[in-house]
Symmetry: C2
Subunit: 121 residues, 2 copies
């Protein structure tokens, strides 16, 4: 049997001195990304582009915690991390697993580069 295998990439990087693992997997309806500094899958958050937004307006996203603690900071981080992925992936929703020790802006920006290094979309 031949055909496309689900695309998946992973990396291990230091982010603000903290060992960080990332796994990115591409599905037809979702990009799945885990960012973990604990080895756990972490809080699972879906980031879905708002269908009401159009090309002229600023894109809006809905975030929903599916598993784990539902904290305001999680929504902010998830939106911040997933926005560019969703846009680059043809407005696909992103499913994020976040287990972060450090959610500072510097850390989030570095995490975006880590995600970029595992581009599967």
């Amino acid at each position: 049997m031949s055909g496309p295998i689900i695309k998946s990439r992973q990396a291990q990087k230091e982010v603000n001195g903290i060992p960080t693992e990332v796994v990115c997997t591409e599905f037809s309806n979702y990009v799945f990304i885990v960012l973990t500094q604990y080895g756990k899958i972490g809080t699972l958050v879906s980031v879905t582009p708002d269908s009401r937004s159009n090309d002229l307006s600023t894109p809006t996203f809905s975030t929903k915690v599916l598993l784990g603690k539902d904290e305001p900071l999680t929504h902010v981080c998830a939106k911040n991390l997933a926005l560019f992925v969703s846009q680059e992936a043809g407005n696909r929703p992103v499913l994020l697993g976040l287990a972060l020790k450090d959610s500072s802006i510097e850390s989030i920006n570095q995490l975006k580069d880590v995600i970029r290094s595992c581009k599967v979309w």
Copy 2:
């Protein structure tokens, strides 16, 4: 930087004549398994061992649909597929993505073999 990278394996097999892709990824707190016959991540279900059960009793599991359609068959399939994984993985919960065209018993049994072929726990 050295250290353990998150263990992930994937395969593509025919199950009852249907091309099926599987991805298994091990996290410290979850085993994550996607079984897809559509390329989608599918319905996301958590299968968690019941803490009340002990070694003498039959293990019981709670299933919860986190994303997608919440149908009774999904819970049955998820429990059926994830039970042995959880037990082999030291009673870790299992997070399942299911996008199946065929949920017959024959198919489920073959899918278990597909999961076994990507053992990461």
